[in-house]
C-alpha cells in the first residue's frame, strides 16, 4: 500500500484478512451458495497451467534463437488453464454438486484452507484493492486420501454496497504435474 497511516493500513489489512477467512470458512463448510454471494457478476476466476523451462542464461542448453527465448512458466490468459470461470460457470459448478450425482464429491471432500501472507495494495479504481495471499488447501476424502494444494492468489476485491466482493482471482499452483487426482475444490 502506498504509505498512509500505519494504523489505518493495519485496519484495512485486518478487514481484508477477515473477509478472506470468512470466505475460506464458507468453502470449508460446503456453503457454496453463500460463497457465490461474495463474488461479483463479472468475476474472472482463473488458474493457469505450469511448465518447466530453463532459466534465461542457462548453460544447460544453447537456444537456437536466443532473443526469442522466454522462460515464462505459467500459461497466459488465452491459453490452457485449469480453471477459467465466470460467475455463470461457477454457479453451474456449484449446482452440479447439488445434483446428488457428483460422484467424486459424494461423500464430500473435507477441506481446510490456510490463508496466510496477506498483503494489500491499491486497485485500478478507488473501490478496488489488490490482494495477494498464499494458501494451503488441505483436502481429505475416503479413508486415507490427503492432498495439499499449496499456492498463491492474486485477487481484486471490490467494495459493493459497503461489502467486499471478489472480482478477480488468479490462482497459481506451482506444481508441474499435479499430484492430486483432481481439483474439485474452489481455491
Amino acid at each position: 500500500m502506498s504509505k498512509g497511516c500505519a494504523a489505518s493500513d493495519a485496519v484495512i489489512v485486518h478487514d481484508i484478512e477477515q473477509f478472506l477467512y470468512q470466505e475460506a470458512r464458507l468453502l470449508d463448510d460446503c456453503k457454496f451458495q453463500e460463497w457465490l454471494e461474495l463474488i461479483t457478476d463479472d468475476v474472472r476466476y482463473w488458474m493457469p497451467v505450469m511448465g518447466r523451462r530453463y532459466r534465461k542464461g542457462s548453460k544447460g542448453m544453447k537456444a537456437l534463437d536466443k532473443d526469442q527465448y522466454e522462460d515464462r512458466e505459467f500459461s497466459t490468459e488465452d491459453e490452457l488453464a485449469i480453471f477459467d470461470d465466470t460467475k455463470d460457470s461457477l454457479e453451474r459448478r456449484v449446482a452440479r454438486l447439488d445434483t446428488g450425482m457428483a460422484w467424486a464429491e459424494d461423500p464430500p471432500s473435507r477441506t481446510q484452507r490456510m490463508i496466510s501472507n496477506v498483503t494489500v495494495g491499491h486497485g485500478d479504481t478507488p473501490s478496488e484493492m489488490k490482494v495477494n495471499s498464499n494458501f494451503i488447501l488441505y483436502r481429505t476424502r475416503g479413508d486415507l486420501e490427503e492432498d495439499f494444494y499449496v499456492g498463491s492468489r492474486q485477487d481484486v476485491l471490490r467494495s459493493e454496497g459497503g461489502k467486499w466482493k471478489l472480482s478477480y482471482r488468479k490462482i497459481l499452483l506451482p506444481q508441474n504435474v499435479l499430484s492430486s487426482k483432481n481439483a474439485s475444490s474452489f481455491f
Binding site: 490452457l80 453451474r92 474439485s184
Partner: protein
C-alpha cells in the same frame, strides 16, 4: 520371464481377470511387450514448429526428447546422457541447438550427435569414438496428420500399417479442414490412482457410463451433448489392431450453437476431404492403441495415459481445435474443454473416481478372483465394410473393450509382430 495372460483376458466371453490392473509382474511385462514395442504418441507438430524446438515426454516410463533439428526434421531420443545415464534435458519445452549434460558436460546437438566431450583429446584414449555415443534415437518415428508417433521396436510395422483403417478416423478428427488442427499452448498434467487401461478402455468404448456417470455435468450445462434415441447403430467401431472409436450420428447437432454453425458451414469441405463415409458416422471419441486418446466436440481433448505403476497413471491432456476455425469457436472450445476435462473438469473428475475404485478394489485377493464383465452386446458386433471396422449394433456396447483387451493380450503373449 513372461506370464501367459490368456486366462486373464477372455474376450470371447467378455470376462477380464483383475490381476491385469494390479499385478506388478504383469505391469513389468506390459512395459516390455506393449510400451516398448507399440507406436506411441509423442506430440503434435504444432507444438514444435521451428528448428530447435523441443518438448520432453515419455514412452511408457522411458523419458524422451522430441526435437526438431536445425534442418527442420523432427527427431526423438531417449532423454538420457550416454555417459552415465543422467537425464539430459530437464525442461518441458523450449528451443535448443544443443543440450549440455549437467554432470560432466557432454553436449548433444539437436540431431542427436555427441558434439562435445570435455577434455576428450587428453583424457580419452583414441579408441573412444564420439560417433558411437550419440543419443539413443527411437527405432522409428513418423507423423500422421500432424500427430508425431514413435516406437522403440525396429520390427514394428510402419505407422500407417499400424494405424490401419484407424487412419481415416484420425483424419476425421484431426484433418477435417484445411490446415488440420492446432493445440492450445499449455497441458494438463496430473497423476491419478488407477491403472492406465481403465482410462484407455473408457475413451475407447465406454459409451455406457456417460448418461449416468456424467449426468450431473450434463444437467448443469457443462455439455450440450445428449444421447439420442436414434443413435442406434454402429456407434462403436474397432478398425483393428486394438484401436477404438466411438461415433455420433452424422447429423448430430448437439454442440454449442457457434460450433454447430461452424460445422454446418464447413460440411461440404469436410465431405470433400473425408469422402462419403463421413455421411455415415461422425467419429468423436477414441483411443489409439495403447494409450493415446481423443475427444472431439465442443469439448475437445487429446491425451496420453502414461503408465506409472500398476495403480498409477499420469494423464497429459491438451485442448485442440481446427486451425481455421473462427476465434469465437476457438474460445468456446477452449473454455468448454477445460471446464470438462483436466483436473478441474466436471466430467473428468467423476471418471477418475470410478477408475480409481475399479483399480483399488482389486487389492483384495478375494475380489481379485472374480472376473469383471464386458458382455454388453457380446456376439452382436459385425464387421462393417462401409466403415472398415467391427461395429456394434447398438449405441451402447462393450464391443470396443473386447477388441482392446484382445489386442493387449496378444501383444503380451507374442513376440513376433507377424503372428499378431
Amino acid at each position: 520371464m513372461s506370464l501367459d495372460v490368456d486366462n486373464l483376458v477372455d474376450a470371447e466371453k467378455g470376462l477380464i481377470g483383475r490381476a491385469i490392473y494390479i499385478d506388478p509382474q504383469i505391469y513389468e511385462q506390459e512395459a516390455r511387450m506393449v510400451f516398448a514395442r507399440c507406436w506411441m504418441y509423442l506430440c503434435h507438430e504444432s507444438q514444435i514448429p521451428k528448428p530447435g524446438d523441443f518438448c520432453t515426454t515419455f514412452m511408457g516410463e522411458d523419458p524422451v526428447i522430441v526435437w526438431r533439428d536445425t534442418e527442420g526434421k523432427v527427431r526423438a531420443f531417449l532423454n538420457v546422457c550416454r555417459h552415465r545415464g543422467n537425464r539430459l534435458c530437464r525442461a518441458d519445452s523450449g528451443n535448443a541447438a544443443s543440450f549440455t549434460c549437467a554432470y560432466h558436460g557432454w553436449t548433444y546437438a539437436n540431431n542427436g550427435c555427441l558434439v562435445g566431450v570435455p577434455h576428450q583429446a587428453v583424457a580419452y584414449n583414441k579408441n573412444f569414438d564420439r560417433k558411437k555415443w550419440p543419443l539413443i534415437g527411437v527405432a522409428q518415428l513418423e507423423s500422421y496428420k500432424g500427430l508425431v508417433f514413435a516406437t522403440f521396436d525396429p520390427s514394428a510395422p510402419p505407422l500407417r500399417e499400424y494405424l490401419g483403417e484407424m487412419a481415416w478416423y484420425l483424419d476425421a478428427i484431426f484433418d477435417r479442414r484445411e490446415g488440420g488442427v492446432e493445440v492450445f499452448p499449455g497441458v494438463h498434467k496430473w497423476v491419478v490412482p488407477c491403472n492406465w487401461k481403465l482410462a484407455a478402455e473408457n475413451f475407447g468404448g465406454d459409451s455406457y457410463h456417460g448418461p449416468w456417470a456424467h449426468r450431473s455435468a450434463m444437467s448443469t450445462n457443462f455439455s450440450a451433448r445428449r444421447p439420442r434415441q436414434n443413435d442406434v447403430q454402429r456407434f462403436h467401431l474397432s478398425p483393428g489392431n486394438g484401436h477404438c472409436v466411438m461415433g455420433r450420428q452424422p447429423d448430430d447437432a448437439s454442440d454449442a450453437p457457434e460450433v454447430v454453425e461452424y460445422e454446418k458451414e464447413g460440411r461440404a469441405a469436410v465431405r470433400e476431404r473425408l469422402g462419403p463415409r463421413i455421411d455415415l458416422v461422425r467419429p468423436a471419441v477414441g483411443n489409439v492403441f495403447p494409450n493415446f486418446a481423443f475427444n472431439r466436440g465442443t469439448a475437445s481433448t487429446i491425451r496420453v495415459w502414461h503408465p506409472r505403476g500398476p495403480e498409477r497413471t499420469e494423464i497429459w491432456s491438451w485442448v485442440f481445435v481446427d486451425k481455421q476455425a473462427p476465434g469465437a469457436v476457438k474460445e468456446t472450445i477452449r473454455l468448454t474443454s477445460l471446464r470438462s476435462f483436466g483436473p478441474a473438469g466436471t466430467f473428468e473428475q467423476d471418471d477418475i473416481d470410478n477408475w480409481q475404485e475399479c483399480t483399488q478394489t482389486a487389492r483384495g485377493p478375494v475380489a481379485r478372483g472374480h472376473m469383471t464383465n464386458l458382455q454388453m452386446g457380446l456376439g452382436e458386433e459385425k464387421f462393417d465394410e462401409e466403415l472398415g471396422a467391427l461395429a456394434s449394433d447398438f449405441c451402447i456396447s462393450e464391443s470396443n473393450h473386447r477388441q482392446f483387451y484382445h489386442r493387449w493380450s496378444k501383444l503380451m503373449n507374442t513376440k513376433d509382430w507377424a503372428e499378431l
